[in-house]
């Protein structure tokens, strides 16, 4: 993260994504919270090795959909999910699937940095420990170090791994949460507005990190900021009032939206 950070405005790059195969396939997904129909009939393919952005105004269902992908909605008692979501061809809502195991494969980073009230080391080691991924302390140390490196946090915290994670700055906390999420070696990483609680410099650091993570994980990011979606993603899905309005290449969505609602949103008329 050395050198000046350049903030870019909407500037769409050429992207090559078509040769990646679908990691997650969602068909006909509906979500109800009690009697509220929060998500209506969503079909999406999330590609491997790709950053996919979900954009849309508040309450449009983008976070709801994200939480379906690792069955976090199970923890909300009133939520009901209908439809089919396949991860590598396997239905994640199948009765035989343990949501706990699924969440190890589909990691999640939340809107507000939420480090556990434990040391930095224990925060990262938490996932590997509960899933029994390492055989001994040395291996665990290795995993912690490599995850902190991948999260671009190692240099800042290597001397104080036993300090509480809650004592870090906001940006550092969010990177710690990313390190914690990738420590279970997930295949998909879900990010729910990961930068909304951060200042611009921390945001830029996290965005750069997301781009690097793409080489190992499929990343799905929910964001309020269209600039951010344009900067980090290759594919973009636009949600509005519980409907998936448009899904396509990020460049195409921002420069040549097919649906008038997408255009209104991008040009700032709704939102």
């Amino acid at each position: 993260m050395e050198g000046p950070i350049q903030m870019k405005d909407i500037h769409i790059e050429e992207r090559v994504v078509s040769d990646h195969k679908a990691k997650i396939t969602a068909r006909g997904v509906q979500v109800y919270y009690g009697t509220n129909h929060a998500l209506k009939d969503v079909d999406v393919d999330i590609l491997a090795g790709t950053v996919t952005a979900f954009i849309g105004p508040s309450g449009c269902g983008k976070s709801t959909f994200l939480r379906c992908l690792n069955r976090m909605n199970d923890t909300v008692s009133s939520a009901r999910v209908v439809g089919e979501i396949l991860l590598d061809g396997e239905d994640i809502y199948d009765k035989r699937v343990d949501p706990v195991q699924l969440r190890a494969k589909v990691g999640m980073v939340f809107q507000k940095p939420n480090p556990f009230p434990k040391s930095i080391y224990d925060n990262v080691a938490y996932g590997p420990k509960i899933h029994g991924l390492t055989r001994n302390k040395a291996e665990l140390d290795e995993v912690v170090e490599s995850c902190l490196r991948k999260a671009a946090l190692w240099n800042e915290v290597k001397d104080r791994l036993q300090a509480p994670g809650t004592g870090l700055s906001g940006g550092q906390q969010q990177r710690l949460c990313i390190a914690r999420a990738i420590a279970t070696s997930p295949e998909v990483l879900l990010m729910d507005e990961p930068c909304s609680a951060l200042d611009p410099i921390a945001t830029a650091q996290v965005e750069e990190l997301i781009d690097e993570l793409r080489s190992q994980f499929s990343v799905v990011i929910v964001t309020h900021s269209m600039q951010q979606a344009a900067r980090v993603s290759q594919k973009t899905a636009f949600f509005h009032l519980g409907n998936l309005v448009e899904y396509g290449e990020t460049g195409q969505i921002f420069t040549n939206p097919k649906d008038p609602r997408t255009e209104s949103y991008i040009t700032g008329r709704i939102g």
Binding site: D19, D94, R96, D98, E187, S215, Q234
Partner: protein, 452 residues
């Protein structure tokens, strides 16, 4: 952040991924741990609730019978020879006949009735026969006759308490085996009791005296009642209400609305929260040392009990009142101040009425906990044997009295097992009062609950 065509995406590293549909061993272990943990939680709740159930069941099964009492019913001829030796029918002269005389009359009438009905008294001495009638009965008959001297020489049907052991036999507490070892009752008396029951002389009926009579001595558990205790508790609750509500509300208003942030205020706050956690017995010591030894209030009086209970209850009431005052939104205060009301007017005209339901609920709950409090009352002498009703308020507040929970304790510490039944019965009465108070509080809360 440049991803150009010249830099093709690396494919994700191949991982030995398990299918989600195939259960793995580690997950089995973790899910078993999860189930165990959940079961611990359920077990904890089950244990707590079943102990509660066992406790209530044991109290109700021991205590419900105290509301029913064995009674002997037989005709008594109120012979004027015995009851009015002077022969002039004057009440003053008749008071010279003591309960011993009435006792003899009752025994004679009882024996005569047995003979008339042809019930054999085999194996039962005359003394034992007399002892089957409660020692309480002569006093009752005497009061009745002195209340209406015109009954002289008439034959009336008396329904008198049977002795405690006979009552225990009907309720299953006393058996033939225990009677063998008991000096106060013999198996023959119990057999006679069976015959009396068949002859409908001995029977069981609802025991209103349990709720109205004063306490009775160790010798006659069958006559012991809760009258003084209920009255004493009622006096104390009334006084606690009169003392606590104004002081509690005034304190809360001051602390919530007026108190400046300074050391004095902090001191008050710290004191209130600490007093809420001081063991109740310490308040008893305070009551004994200050109200009785220093201020000279009479021992065992309801006023001292009420003062002690008030000091204990104040923190509860203050905490409840403050939270309901705090729940009144500031916009109401702003509105009142905005039309030119003084701070005091704002509080008394707007904030206090809106906080009233909460204050009321908190007060009732505070009173309920005061009603069940025992330990401090022991120290101020309310455990003493009191067989006179306290007089009517206000003088009655100074009279010796006892309280429901204290009566439970003092009966529980007597040796005759018949008092355990009484004690459990007293708890039932106490619990009925508590349930009524709590339900009232819940209803009030439901009715007036306001979401701002």
């Amino acid at each position: 952040m440049t991803v150009a065509a010249t830099n093709p995406m690396p494919t994700p590293p191949a991982k030995a991924t398990h299918s989600l549909l195939v259960p793995n061993a580690a997950m089995g272990r973790r899910n078993a741990a999860e189930k165990r943990f959940r079961a611990y939680g359920l077990a904890a709740i089950a244990v707590s609730l079943s102990v509660l159930g066992i406790m209530l069941w044991s109290i109700f099964s021991d205590g419900l019978s105290s509301f029913f009492q064995a009674k002997l019913t037989f005709p008594v001829t109120l012979s004027s020879e015995v009851l009015d030796p002077a022969g002039n029918g004057l009440r003053e002269e008749m008071t010279k006949v003591t309960t011993i005389g009435y006792g003899k009359l009752l025994t004679a009438a009882f024996t005569a009735e047995l003979a008339a009905k042809g019930i054999s008294t085999e194996g039962v001495t005359d003394k034992q026969l007399a002892e089957m009638i409660s020692k309480d009965a002569p006093g009752v008959l005497r009061a009745k006759v002195l209340g209406d001297t015109s009954m002289l020489d008439q034959t009336i049907t008396m329904s008198v308490l049977a002795a405690g052991r006979i009552d225990g036999y009907l309720k299953g507490r006393v058996t033939m085996e225990t009677a063998e070892r008991d000096g106060n009752i013999s198996p023959e008396q119990l057999q006679l009791a069976d015959r009396l029951k068949t002859a409908r002389i001995l029977g069981s009926s609802f025991n209103t005296r349990f709720l109205t009579s004063p306490d009775a001595s160790d010798q006659r558990p069958e006559a012991a009642g809760l009258g003084v205790a209920i009255l004493g508790s009622a006096y104390m609750m009334l006084l606690v209400l009169i003392i606590c509500v104004p002081i509690g509300v005034a304190t809360s208003i001051y602390l919530e609305e007026f108190a400046p942030k300074n050391r004095w205020t902090d001191l008050i706050e710290v004191n209130i929260s600490n007093l809420a956690a001081v063991p109740s017995i310490v308040f008893g010591i305070l009551g004994l040392a200050i109200f009785i030894n220093f201020a000279g209030f009479p021992q065992s009086s309801s006023v001292v009990g009420a003062l002690v209970l008030s000091l204990m209850t104040l923190p509860t009431i203050i905490i409840a009142t403050r939270s309901s005052i705090r729940a009144v939104p500031p916009s109401i205060r702003d509105a009142a101040l905005g039309v030119g009301a003084s701070k005091m007017q704002t509080v008394f005209h707007h904030v206090l009425p809106l906080a009233m339901p909460g204050i009321l609920t908190g007060t009732i709950l505070g009173l309920a906990s005061a009603l069940g409090e025992t330990a401090p009352l022991l120290l101020i002498g309310m455990v003493a044997f009191v067989d006179n009703y306290p007089s009517a308020p206000v003088e009655g507040f100074m009279d010796p009295a006892t309280a429901l929970p204290v009566q439970v304790y003092s009966w529980a510490s007597r040796s005759d097992p018949a008092f355990i039944e009484r004690s459990s019965g007293a708890i039932i009465v106490l619990l009925v009062f508590l349930v009524v108070m709590n339900v009232t509080a819940i209803i009030l809360r439901r009715k007036f609950e306001r979401r701002w």
